[in-house]
Symmetry: D2
Subunit: 308 residues, 4 copies
């Protein structure tokens, strides 16, 4: 019988020939400089065992994967009150569209599009009062769930994001004009970018996601972070909204709740079984890691672990 | 320990007080005449045992639930070639929006919005050549999967749909203008309405859906209708697109692949475990059965059968 | 001093080198077969004198120019009640967009986009009862204003339009679904196409438009067709909406109330002075006669007859 | 025969009963505090004679009327190159819509919607280098065309605009993200607001607009500000785009090139004859002065000075 390590090794072999396909995110120079043909994949099981292939210790910019962590934190604080300010429906439009936001009076469709994550950040600032405290708490939360003190953000990426952040400032100002942003627009957007600039390896990310595969409780440390019900909710939002305008495609081909980032990372969970992280910087036309998506598709096909 | 029958009985008790909430579909007189406060729920297991509560023998108009059957049929014929003509992404807009169709050059977002099901019907007519043969084959397919010869459509509902079908004619003509409809517009739309007008009970519907819970093979008769891979695909499209603009909400609260119809029915599957059908005519603001959705939410909460 | 004939001759010279630019309408074969490099221009003065250059006796399909005549007729019947069913604002979108129609509940922006002209045709059928009577009355009206019995439509173009009329059927069905179409959808669209298929020469068209330059009364026959106030209204709608998504551009460069058709014709009026018609089949990217627009721009520059 | 003064007096009488209709702009407190039932109307003829009724010396916030002056200035500097960055078509959507801007890649439809005027301001900053110089030059230009040194802006209104300017910041950031804004977003928007906060009376405004009625040359001082051709262009853009989503309605009912501001002012020109300004703070549902629009409609009806 194949071990998980066999499966990962086999995936790596199949993926290697396509590592030169797709295009690294280049909207900011800091991201464009990454070595484009890297690949890593890690899985973590409930007994603490983990399996890795490729550069699984290489830290990369988690970007939109941070939205899972801030959404989790905000949901744990505000519970369903959060949905007064952000929806939970697929957007059906590219991830940073202002059109839908305008037609829907400044309420973003879900917490995984940029506008939604900016609102989520705003609610966290409301709770933690200062920008520094907000970043610290999000960062501490990630340290806790990944059982790892060694988590930081990349200042170079962060300031590059801020410098080129006009579309996000447009989204934030639009929401502010609809009274759906409580704090100073620039402050909220900068804090949002700081979360996006956190760097982690696939080893760390797969470890960090484990509680979402286990009803909100880390099966290794037994720490409970959120309720079982909230966990189901987060996973369902990842499944329907986790890959922007390709969420349906990801559900169709991979069949797991997951979230991607333009840095090339994707995280996913197999409820009751394991958590997964992949990394490969070149993106497909929807802005999701091309090799990463393919690797996950092969994984669920081989292991029959799709939730469908 | 609670039996499934206990769970269903308990759901009925909890649902009864809200059977007067919501609004019966009234866009055609034939649907508006239904007794509004009916409720039924049926589940069918792999061993052939089934559990029911309420008027589970009452036949009702399956409406958009027929889209699951026509999509399955077309996918079995055309495989992934089908996606040249219809997508598999959530629509993020009300179910009959022309806006998205126009912006996306006549390619509907998925097979579960009206435009998508009309295209699917067009592909079936291409395959079966005549309108009569197309309806017969769809009808025969439903008879097969439900192991029941007694399936028919409601002529009164069908002609009422045709009489008030201008919006669907608008969709179909728009797609025709984009060369995404091969047959005569009126013919395709009439055939589509005929499928929608099929009547079934929850007992029949839960039986009919069983193959989708078991990798495409009916676990009772052992007939294989589609491949395991196609089954996962259909289930994922049900999860992300099965409830129009409330698909995210359904995934969030119920956590099962499912499909609703304006006649008040909803079908759902628990992969590897069972299939479910509910019926209650009053609809919530998104056009899905209000009591039916609530019943399914209670069901997955009580049984912990959510896929998340 | 230059005579009008000198001006027209000079325009022809300037226009000749660009008669091979642009693209003949080819959405129906019947229009695509026209000799593409024809040019004609005619002006008619209040004293009955007229000046012509090019093939000014060549009859061509007036297409959307017919919208001026049906709008005039409907306005004379229904007065401002007409605006309950069609607006008078520029559309800011391509001429056959369903998007705006959907967002604005089936009320077309103005009588010069296709949807608006279809509604106008519907109001005329309401008034004249039969399809034949409606066409006859519109046709008789054109005969009266052009003082010419010799006006007919092109059956070949008309049936070709009907055969390829799916987008207009989509518009009409959408309006029907919003209860903004009283008669049978197919009947209304066919009658609309019949009006579009009328053929006239620039000589006839410039004669026909004269009453709109003279407060609603033909200055030659002294027949009063509409009130002075209605005339101003029609001219203002021609100026703001007469050239689809290039109406602003036409106002900017030509500075006259005018209306174009995809057959290559454009009509315009200089209030209190004259009426003009041009013809050249090749169209610019907005669907308006390329050489015709340029000819009118040269005309107003040379004669200083822009209303601005 | 009626004199112009008789006409103005008569208009005032007819307008008085409706001065309590409509709603003063209240999106910023500074504008909401204005005395709501004021009315003034001024006309200026080429010989320098002028006629006034109501509070024609009362200074009010010119708001979007400033867009005429900045557009004129930018057109005189950049000529048709300006149209690389801003269009000249009606917008067919509310004046501050982001939707169209997003679909059209950050190029505003015309210089009279907010986005367009922000781009125009950006081009002026490019030319004059500093914010102070830009405001000074615009202010000096208004002093010149109005032959009046006594023009200033209202600091209270300006800082109130900035404080509530999130929607304009959204527009500006969106254009910046499309590379259609060269200068710092905050700087451009602040300068734009400063222009909007200029205060003038109807007496001053009607004087200032006179050059646009006379081919670009002030008929009193004989100073030439722009070419005859540019003047026609500006007037045509005022006619097709000067009143946001009610431009067609204004053309229809008034029939003059004009521009309104939410401060309650409207300016208009009768080419070759005169310039006009009206003021009344209560607005109709499109954001244009209700009594002002009505006064202009009565004026063109009585004097037969509509350009149509």
């Amino acid at each position: 019988m194949l071990t998980y390590q066999d499966v990962l090794n086999d995936i790596y072999q199949k993926i290697e020939p396509i590592l030169n396909e797709g295009k690294v995110a280049d909207y900011i120079p800091a991201l464009a400089q990454v070595n484009p043909e890297q690949f890593a994949m890690s899985i973590t099981l409930f007994d603490g065992s983990s399996y890795h292939v490729g550069c699984s210790d290489e830290k990369f910019s988690i970007q939109s994967i941070s939205k899972v962590f801030t959404f989790t934190k905000a949901l744990s604080i505000y519970s369903t009150d959060l949905y007064k300010r952000v929806g939970k429906e697929p957007s059906g439009n590219p991830f940073n569209s202002l059109v839908q936001l305008e037609y829907e009076s400044g309420i973003p469709r879900n917490p995984f599009i940029n506008a939604g994550a900016i609102v989520v950040t705003d609610t966290l600032i409301n709770n933690y009062k200062t920008l520094d405290a907000t970043y610290s708490e999000v960062s501490n939360f990630i340290k806790e769930i990944s059982d790892n003190k060694n988590i930081d953000f990349d200042e170079n990426v962060c300031s590059s994001e801020i410098k080129h952040g006009h579309r996000n400032l447009a989204l934030a100002n639009l929401m502010k004009s609809f009274n759906n942003l409580d704090n100073n627009v620039d402050d909220v957007v900068k804090t949002y970018f700081k979360h996006c600039s956190i760097t982690m390896s696939t080893k760390e990310l797969s470890r960090a996601m484990l509680f979402l595969a286990n009803h909100g409780t880390d099966p290794i440390t037994n720490k409970k972070f959120i309720t079982s019900s909230q966990t189901k909710r987060i996973n369902s939002v990842m499944l329907t909204c986790g890959h922007y305008d390709a969420s349906g495609d990801f559900a169709y081909h991979v069949g797991l709740p997951g979230k991607s980032g333009v840095g090339g990372g994707i995280v996913a969970v197999v409820p009751n079984v394991m958590s997964i992280a992949v990394f490969s910087p070149r993106l497909n036309s929807w802005g999701n890691s091309l090799a990463g998506t393919k690797a996950l598709e092969i994984f669920t096909t081989k292991t029959n672990l799709s939730i469908f």
